[in-house]
Symmetry: C2
Subunit: 343 residues, 2 copies
């Protein structure tokens, strides 16, 4: 059996934390993987020097994951084509807006039996439909694509704080391989087959976190918030099963990508925080984005609008009262108290 040749596409905060794990695990399993892992790093200058050169000399991504040593098996490569050449396992961990461009560049350079896994956050939801990034990768590169998502914060993972993550992979044998590539004592992987549910959870959780933040802003207690989290989890499941049918499994919502990630997103996190400030300050979301997020867009309110557009086109907003109420509070000046009154 020939060894699997791994490449990582992306090198931000999460990509670097994942590189640490992947580069360690290829060393741990020399009968499965080639030790060397090529990582595509978007080239930029840091103090006048190429970031790839710094990574390859210092074994540290000084820009996006300072203070964490990467294994020497990780080799930073500035060209995406060179990085993915003849790779059999491709780990996608780029911001979602880059997926298509990067895939187009990779076309024809992977090994014939290549398989991919997407660590990309979010979905594209429009009135016409839902597009998963794993499907986009499959479509452009014509290879199967799994997904990984869980209650993970890059910095905590990099510091080896214990957490779990979920891999959704339709092919059981490939699932085992991804397990070997990602599982460590502090980063525990469960493999399930439902790659759709894994990705849906990662996007819809942010809408729920906005609702949870509203109850924090209103000064309600932890039982109210637990009720919002629970109902949110149930709407996430209903959404998945209504629009993807049996592909989306009930068990997925008990996984790290489901209940656990939702809990942690509703406890801390920017979506919760900005929503809380929305109530306590009375300022609109775009003002708070400038003040609290340096102008970055909040994911949860964006997703709430996309989900609303999708559901409206199908006359189904009433079936998802929590998603709908979050939308109405943010975009239609509904009173914040409707977060408990109208769900």
């Amino acid at each position: 059996m020939s060894l699997e040749k791994v490449c990582i596409i992306g090198s931000g905060n999460w990509g670097s934390a994942i590189a640490k794990i992947v580069g360690t695990n290829t060393q741990q399993h020399p009968t499965l993987f080639e030790t060397t892992v090529r990582q595509w790093v978007f080239e930029e200058k840091v103090n006048g020097e190429n970031l790839t050169d710094i990574i390859n000399r210092e074994h540290e991504n000084v820009k996006y994951l300072q203070g964490i040593k990467l294994p020497e098996s990780i080799v930073a490569v500035p060209s995406v084509v060179d990085a993915c050449k003849d790779a059999t396992l491709v780990v996608f961990v780029v911001p979602h807006q880059f997926v298509r461009g990067v895939c187009e560049q990779m076309k024809g350079h992977l090994a014939p039996n290549a398989r991919a896994i997407s660590l990309i956050k979010g979905l594209e939801i429009t009135s016409s439909g839902i597009r998963l990034f794993s499907e986009e990768i499959e479509r452009i590169l014509n290879i199967p694509c799994a997904a990984l998502s869980g209650a993970n914060i890059a910095d905590e993972v990099a510091k080896e704080k214990f957490c779990e993550s979920t891999i959704g992979c339709a092919n059981v044998q490939d699932g085992q391989l991804w397990h070997h590539l990602f599982d460590t004592a502090y980063f525990r992987i469960n493999v399930i087959q439902d790659h759709v549910g894994v990705q849906l959870c990662g996007a819809l959780k942010n809408v729920v976190a906005v609702g949870a933040g509203f109850t924090d802003g209103l000064g309600y207690g932890s039982n109210t918030k637990a009720a919002i989290i629970r109902r949110g989890l149930m709407e996430m499941r209903k959404f998945g099963q209504m629009f993807f049918g049996d592909m989306v499994q009930t068990e997925t919502f008990f996984e790290s990508c489901g209940a656990a990630d939702l809990i942690t997103t509703c406890s801390g996190g920017r979506n919760r925080k900005v929503a809380e400030a929305f109530v306590t300050t009375g300022k609109p979301i775009d003002v708070l984005e400038k003040e609290l997020l340096n102008g970055q867009k909040l994911q949860g309110t964006l997703s709430a609008a996309e989900v609303h557009e999708f559901l409206s086109a199908r006359k189904m907003t009433a079936e998802f009262p929590l998603f709908n109420t979050v939308y109405r509070i943010v975009y239609e000046n509904a009173p914040v108290e409707s977060i408990v009154r109208d769900i």
Copy 2:
């Protein structure tokens, strides 16, 4: 159809909050219930006056739920026999150690078609088996008994902060009746059939909360805690399904009594707090019980010992690594770090 005659057995903090709801709902549904609800109040003197007299004059339980008005439909009765005479619906909300004695006194006084519901927290777990309080009530009084449990704190419910609760009732028609008796705009009831799961969750959650408190004490992040909560929920389900089979339903763990109550118990609550102090101060649990709980016993560590005894007798501790690790840390000086290492 004759009207249902409701009595409430118990008048502590939770019993008083529930009396407010029940006494309001009997007025809301005059075609289902007699308006008057008799509540058994353990008689005691408050400033030289009988507590029952104060409640019936002031419509307030000044000792256990100060500042909250009870509906005038609630009538405090010092004799348990008088309180339950000819009742058709009996709400049990007494501390568990009083259940048997109270039931013995009630024998022969209820209406022939009476049904009960237990709001009693906890279970009896010994090496020989598990005893649910609903079963004890059924056995002694020979009437069917449902159960109610959820992410509820008495004071928050009394202040009408939004939360949810779960009723487990094997009989669907009775379940509807209990729904009418308890459901309000701020206290939302879901009725399910699995009364066993409802009660198991209420007891086992405290063991998980001790584990969650350990990770707080160790300074781990919210992802680690989310992982403990998730694994705890899965062990609670496994425990239920292993020892009660199909009676315990997977859906129960998505209900308020399951995921939501576990989340809130692991966020705040005394079990989490004492476990955190166990790590940060290095003091033994019994010392912390004196210092932090006025000498009261911590439920989570007691339950951990009971569960351990039960599982040990069946040589099954290894099947429940989280429950087992909590036990070993508290009672066998296992290092606290095993909470993430050994699960």
